[in-house]
Subunit: 154 residues, 2 copies
Amino acid sequence: MKNVNEEKSGAVEKFKEFLRQKKMRQTSERVLIVEKIYSMNTFFSAQALHEDINKDIHVSLATIYSTLNLLLECNLIIRHNFNSQNILYEKFPSGANSYYRICIKCNKVKAFTDKKLKKSIDLRNSTAFSIGNHTLYLYGICKKCKEKMAKAKC
Amino acid sequence: MKNVNEEKSGAVEKFKEFLRQKKMRQTSERVLIVEKIYSMNTFFSAQALHEDINKDIHVSLATIYSTLNLLLECNLIIRHNFNSQNILYEKFPSGANSYYRICIKCNKVKAFTDKKLKKSIDLRNSTAFSIGNHTLYLYGICKKCKEKMAKAKC
DNA sequence: TTTGTTGCAAAACGTTTGCAGCCTC
DNA sequence: GAGGCTGCAAACGTTTTGCAACAAA
């Protein structure tokens, strides 16, 4: 198991390399934002990230968004749209994969891991398309909602 | 292979049943919207659907959105967020599953099918979570972009 | 007849943009 | 020192909401 700090410094390094390649500048704001994101373990909205960072130092929302777009571009974060209102971001370390169970009744989202499935999906790599990360969403009904529905029928 | 009209009438039926259960009204607008969606075979934006429908009869954008939300709720459509700007919808017939390859360089999206993978994912069904449909996104680099990158290095 | 639904316009929300000043390189 | 980046506020596109008129049950 990789530790959190290794993951974070790996992400910062990858981001800096990406900026170098694009001949873009390494600003303190950009680095701080990646570090913050890689210190979290939950989904987050752009707003929440903005508020969180601004407890420490002042960074404008425009900068938050511009950096989020760069991080999306270099695959260090992903963007979820679980339900129509909230758009949520999440760190996405290289080699990681995201699996989610989404209850279509209560909208709760639960992340899980599945090594076997991961292996099987990674096998889909081909010359026509080199797979980096992948994301799987399972839509269904959770135990609680199933029980509720059973009760309602009685 | 199920034919398109069967699929469409199945969707309409499922939607009507959903409305009945929620004690909501079966309006001509609602039915027309599902029918239209199930006649298409591509991703679509709310705007595009609105324009398309309004060639025939007048339906307001507010009604389009309210119906899209109902269809999301009863799992007859899904919402994609491939790149940060466009939000796209797609029909999602029961039993169908969506697999997508997304190039992180050129942002092109290609849908594909994979029966083996589908079987393997369906096996993840459990008492804790009953899986309905699922969606898999593979993020990677397509052949064209790989070739471009190889050329750039020379 | 009753009450939910529609259309319209305005509001809300997340995100982007233009510009002046600042800070990397 | 030059040009890219930031902050601010205004603009933008998508989605939601409030209200009066309408229509399904």
